[in-house]
Amino acid sequence: MVVGTSVQRVDGVAKVTGKARYTDDFTMPGMRVAKYLRSTIAHGRVSSIDTSQAKALPGVDGVFTFEDVPKRIYATAGHPYSLDPHHMDITDRYLLTDHVRYMGDEIAIVVAVSDLIATKALSLIDVEYEPYQPLVEAKDALAKDAVEIHKGTGNVVKAHSFVAGGDLDAVRKECDQLLEGQYKTQIVQHCHLENHTAYAYMDDLERIVIVSSTQIPHIARRIVAEALEIDTGLIRVIKPTIGGGFGNKQDVILEPMVAFLTKKLDGIPVRLKLDREEGMVGTRVRHPFDVKVQIGLDQEGTVKLIHFDALSNTGAYASHGHSIVSAGAAKTHYMYPRAVYSCTAKTIYSNIPAAGAMRAYGSPQMTFAIECAMEEAARTLGMDSAEFRLRNGARAGDKSQITKKPIMTCGLLDSIKKGKDLIGWDKKRALWPKEQTGEVRNGLGVAIFSYGSGTYPVCVEPASARLILNQDGSAHLQVGATEIGQGSDTAFAQMAAESLGFSFSKIHVVSCQDTDVTPFDTGSYASRQTYVTGQAVMRTAEQLKAKILHHASIISGLEATLITISGDNIVISESPEIVVMSVQDVAIDAYYNKERGGQITAEATYKARNNPHVFGCTFVDLSVDIPLCRVKINEIYNIHDSGIIINPLMAEGQVHGGMAMGIGAALFEELMVDPDSGKIYNNNLLDYKVPTIMDIPDLGAAFVEPNEPTHPYGSKSLGEPPIISPAPAIRNAILDATGVAINELPMSPKTIFKYFKNAGLI
């Protein structure tokens, strides 16, 4: 068996030796450097711009402003194209703009022979602005006389509402208790270690080649084509090794610009690389949410209804703003699927950096609100927090109130039980004093989550793969899916090897995506690849296997139905110890026999029409130092139902990484905005508190593994979910320790101080 074992990741050696090549590790002779001129105000219009001095500087190839770019408005969200006109992404961007919508907006760009000359040229551009009042917060953006950030929107990107599972008012009347709470989440930035970077050049007079650090090469190709009005077939997007994305590279940010620049400059290679400070405001961030939650309960402690009223701030441009709240609401609904579930939500524009996709796409914000509110519910009823969730949490066989489909596999209750054991919940509850009075107090917390394995039925879920048998009996695997560090290429190789009967080392994954070569797949997002692309890989492997056996049958004269592949050999199915010939023998004959055969290849494409849900929880034991307003995590565990685990070591790594990101968002991270000017105070890795190794405690990960029937290897999603539940679990443990409910993130000393002071603790 290869599936289910911790084989070494396929790109591991390349990465530990530094031989893996990322976008910036490729250079071309004569490559130019491009740099943006970014606005120094958050809201207004450029009233004049003079680029003459910059253009005259020796070494400058070109200076382009909003006046030079195509009058073509486009959407940047990395979604597959939608055939439904009501479900299109929001077109609200030009390549450069004279209408400044956040501090750092892109109004001009310089191309020069070196970084220094480009920087010098930027300083020679004179800009004058007609400033407007920056609209930073919702109350400003939604004020009656507020200037419209995008014409005709009233500063609302989208309003949503739905009720699932019953009549909200009727159920409300049946409830014995209604509890309400309000919860706020902050602006978080992805902080992938590799910044956004891309370069482009032309092959001839028409074809544009773009090399980019992207999660979505095939989508990027389409969006560049749309933004520049060029045929899709003339755009080629290449994705080398990627240094992390977490959703920030599920957006088309630099690709249309580098394509535009090389086209303008007769095809010379142009690189556009953002530095850290630029990237932290000029790419995407996580949407800050303000959520009111109402929970309805009966006397026995059963949750009868969950109602949200959510406000999401997408900042200067829509990006993914139109879909984040609804995705977050829909995916979190599976936690408590027997309750009536209702959501009203509004996403607004404002003059802060644009928010987009980030790991778990709206679910961390929604789950923080729900799981804080559920904790109040449990405590109001006097029920144990874990017991309350065991009573109300999803079980296999429950029906989704939204899709009306049954939940096939659900390990939520088992994961809660496992988490209780790991942290010693009952023992600590029994031993710890009921009332704590010291300066340092201990608390236990729990929170649960649910998530999806893709985007179906909201979006199409296509994936494709190709396998080519080599002369040595190994096979090359091409996928359109995108390895960005999560380990998908290794999981694909494991599934291909398993399906083919090859040893793992005989599968070579082509990790570099090239839209001219690799088959179509929409890319890395929604934790979709192992579940969706995995199925395309297996279908391809089955085809290749059939073709290999067919040729082996021709060579050997044995019926193809009597033979199979095992251990890189053709063997008799009934007696696998009898080797007929090696796969290499088949390959050599197929390639070189003058009278028969040919190259053995297979290709399959697959669209997922299922979206199994994943579940799990975080358990945490922490201490709160009341005078210092500081939290110390003593023990923390994430327990996941992601179906059958393909690679246990790599799965554990995904969980650890998500937990650390969740802890960062819970305790430290916040991109801080000046409410008056819209200026971001801390767009660097020193002042924005990404957790270091000193800030993250020992991490524990565990799995429960129900066998998901809609996937041939029983697998479901894993990449994003680990980030979802740490923040509410930590908040609930702080409440347990101190009796103080912190209802906003991050729970940094600054925030905790405010709450403790109000509570009279300090």
């Binding site: 090794t241 070591l649 650890h656």
Partner: protein, 159 residues
């Protein structure tokens, strides 16, 4: 201003003509040592760490001219004759690699740590402190600590 520096990189003597304004990371990358990554360019993330006379430094903050006469080690040079170093192997054994962008720098700090503390019994706190100059956004650091522990194990006294 152009100057010549002579140093040893991964056991090979080199002599480079450099602009004195260039950082060591820029010079190393220009000369093909692209394991040296730039995540911030201002000494916040540690992706560009190399060993300079045995000590991990952020090469983005270190002028190349200062490296004249020094012995430099980068991740490329740690594998020898097709075999990974013990630290590199431990990173693979423990799943300490995801996107890989912080990896070459971290490998160098772990190498410094393992060489410096050989024979000692070290704590997780010590490992944390001496890797604190690196940001990794993928792993949550747990697997990196495990990799270093694996390297230290055979050398602990009394074992």
């Amino acid at each position: 201003m152009i100057r010549t520096i002579s140093c040893t990189v991964n056991s090979k003597p080199v002599s480079w003509q450099i602009d004195v304004r260039m950082s060591l990371s820029e010079v190393l990358r220009t000369n093909g040592f692209t394991s040296v990554k730039e995540g911030c360019g201002v000494g916040e993330c540690g992706a560009c760490a190399v060993l300079l006379d045995g000590i991990a430094v952020d090469s983005c903050l270190y002028l190349a001219i200062w490296a004249d006469g020094c012995n430099i080690r980068t991740s490329e040079g740690e594998s020898k004759g097709g075999t990974l170093s013990e630290v590199q192997q431990a990173y693979l054994d423990n799943g300490s690699v995801q996107c890989g962008f912080c990896t070459p720098g971290l490998v160098m700090s772990s190498t410094e740590f393992v060489e410096k503390h050989r024979g000692e019994k070290v704590t997780r706190d010590q490992i944390r402190k001496e890797h604190a100059g690196h940001i990794c956004r993928c792993t949550g650091y747990e697997s990196i600590i495990r990799a270093v522990e694996q390297c230290m194990k055979p050398y602990e006294k009394g074992k």
